[in-house]
Symmetry: D2
Subunit: 269 residues, 4 copies
């Protein structure tokens, strides 16, 4: 039995190389996470454990794919920015997105118990992924700004909604109360009715999470190495040993220039 008469089917796999000199970004999104978060009784409006588990999974991705220079996450989504000049997997879009999303999903399940020690994972979640290309640094920054503004808008909405619900309103009434309100109205409701100053809420909820490799600063976050993992980190994709750059987990503004001035190597490695 040989394979010669069937091997022609290989030719149906067509190339999908990313255009050179563009920033490849892989964004992953939880599939049906509304239900997933409900089943697992995530705290509302934000569950810090769930967000930290997402970031832990993101770090697993970054440990395995050295050309990811930055990851940004909020809610049930995470974006992974590959360096513009990456040649990982010959820049094949499907390789980049599938390896990112499968590593993310398997790490999410693997680390679940560290973040939810008292809660059983009921079923394994899925995530979708896509690779998108951004030609200029401005496009890249605008992409990240888009996701961070989205985080802010959703968080302000959710925070106000759940404050109303926790105060006794039905979800329908809370929805009704918020219909047509502007950001300023929501801030006012939070402050006047619940004594909450939105700007004092935790940064992780308002800004999301940025993970970068800090080449200059001391390591501020190092997840406890899981069995066998410490050794993994020391090898690049090509098998050469190297000391992994420590990962920094930040909850900061990425819209204004300041962040990019502190970490200029992100745009110009």
């Amino acid at each position: 039995m040989t394979n010669s008469q069937f091997e022609y089917v290989r030719k149906f796999e067509l190339p999908d190389m990313c255009l050179p000199n563009c920033w490849p970004i892989v964004r992953i999104d939880g599939k049906n996470f509304h239900k997933f978060s409900h089943k697992h009784e995530f705290e509302k409006p934000n569950d810090a454990r769930a967000l930290k588990l997402m970031s832990r999974a993101a770090q697993e991705v970054m440990n395995g794919m050295v050309d990811v220079v930055l990851a940004y996450g909020q809610s049930d989504e995470y974006s992974f920015v590959f360096k513009k000049s990456t040649t990982s997997f010959n820049r094949r879009a499907s390789k980049l997105s599938s390896l990112v999303v499968s590593q993310f999903a398997s790490a999410y399940v693997f680390h679940w118990k560290s973040f939810f020690p008292d809660k059983e994972l009921l079923y394994p979640p899925a995530f979708d992924a896509r690779t998108v290309l951004y030609p200029s640094d401005k496009n890249l920054r605008d992409y990240l700004s888009w996701r961070q503004v989205d985080c802010h808008i959703n968080n302000l909405q959710n925070t106000t909604f759940w404050a109303l619900v926790h105060s006794g309103l039905t979800p329908t009434d809370a929805q009704e109360r918020l219909k047509g309100t502007l950001a300023s109205d929501k801030n006012e409701i939070l402050f006047a009715q619940f004594g909450i100053n939105y700007n004092n809420l935790e940064q992780i909820f308002r800004k999301g999470t940025v993970v970068i490799r800090d080449k200059k600063k001391p390591q501020t976050f190092q997840p406890a190495a899981t069995a066998g993992e410490a050794k993994e980190n020391k090898r690049t994709e090509r098998g050469k040993k190297q000391i992994p750059t420590p990962l920094l987990e930040l909850h900061v503004d990425v819209i204004k220039d300041e962040f990019w001035k502190i970490y200029p190597h992100l745009l110009d490695p």
Copy 2:
């Protein structure tokens, strides 16, 4: 803070719809599974537990994606055949492959302990994935034949190699011994030297695993429902309740016509 000035970045995500009237196949492959199997001390040449875990993860995929009509797996790879006319996720190639591969990876970790109760999972594995289109039924069958012949060739090679190694040869010597041998030579080595009749080896090793939805036959395999899972199975992607078609796990020849005569609904739903 509004998103209006950043939302233009959405337009960089380009459509990637699969050509209509073709069979979309998503094939996933373990990343660095040579090392993964070594670290986890998989039995050689085949570890039945590892293969069954792969199939368990494949079934999780099929339970979540009702348009997968058949899956075929061997070694550290699995192929998922979507029905030709599927409109799932608007036939977007990246959606199909990312949801398959992330569900597979998360399920692999989730079900690990059921198949390796005595062995800790050391780190979460990754898989790559691609979507390939096959226009005709013959192309589809040839694709599956290609994978099954590949299974056979590798298994005969590995079985002979490990028989030699287990008999005392070094891996290098075993490699040397097999250099240039034909299938008939390997069969002969197995039989003459080790009393092994290759054709009597377990079908799962020689044929790999086919998973289909059996619409006519009684259910022969039903994995123990994990917590929360039973209920999940009852809902399609669109949220309508339905009784899931039981999944059949087979270790049979898919190259000859017989299989396709028994299950004609696979090609003509």
Copy 3:
């Protein structure tokens, strides 16, 4: 001066190979031909000279590209069907469409004077083109049926419209008269008011034009060879001499089975 520092720009040209085992069809369409036909005073509703010039240009394409098995044209459009297994230009979609459309356009201008000896070509026209893939023979036939039904619908509409205009109605009034009419109404107007039996109109207007290579029948149409052209025809793309198969120009139904029974080699070369 060497090119070494600039040659990297080649890598930005990405592959665009057609999926194997599909019928590639290149359809070209006249750009702004409403104006073009007005400027050149084409006869209404149909100008036989213009249609024949289109077909002459299509034959130039078929003489230069031996893997085009059939072309179908009507109005200011022409579709070129490449054989399913073509490897011309490595099946690169942009090569197929650009060579077809540029050869068509240059031939249109080149042969203009043979079809419009008394009318000067005022400016060189442009055509757009796209390559579309059809996986099955049924899809291919349905594509051609789609174009032929379109020919019929437009021709019935235009014939009735211009009969009304030629009888003295303003274009606006003619438009108004036809608003909401069915095919049967138009047939009735033509017959009752103008004594025209639509089914007796010339086939070229009602059916469009099919060009094929007839391998069995005697040649019924051979355009007068232009200077230098006769010799060209004898060479394939790869430079081997060959006697070109004569081209047949037909005005027949391609929707029903009959056509495909007479010329079975078209679908099964």
Copy 4:
């Protein structure tokens, strides 16, 4: 007869929009122009009439497609640079390349007699085309530099080769004489043996041709308007009347910064 049962075939035409914020370049190349130039007895090493006809055709393209900001041509090829932000034809790659290449080819035939009044066009030529995207201004400039260096290398080679042939060497001997020679060797052969100072040769041969729209300078080149053409120029694709910007035909260096400083609007419209 309606089209409803066939119209599904439209869905097989997949979108091919160019990534935003990239420079789309359509490059066209003559098909079999070695033979074409031989048949039409083009002067060697360069035929000024043929080069000027190419540029005339390029201008026809630019007159019809207002978003082409620059065209560069040499030998039998021409590149058309669309503005980065163009939304012409929804940035569909196949539309851009097919309209450019068909307009170019039809104009080439249309204007032949103006440039070769004494030589009959023997057959209509074809051109291939592709759309390539360049993300940054540097990439765009490097692309044009790549083509202009290519022009220089080929021209120096051809000039020396034909000087040798015209002096009596057979083509084979001339080829042999040039084997392994560097640019400096060729310059030396030209000067020592034929008294030719390469740098004194006409710019059009050494630099190729750049066509731009000059928004500041007086018009230096205006092709004689062909019948009906003058009026055409006054209309944009969308039909609004406008005075066309005059086209400038230049034979200058586009590699160094100077050109880009004189015409800064090319990169920053």
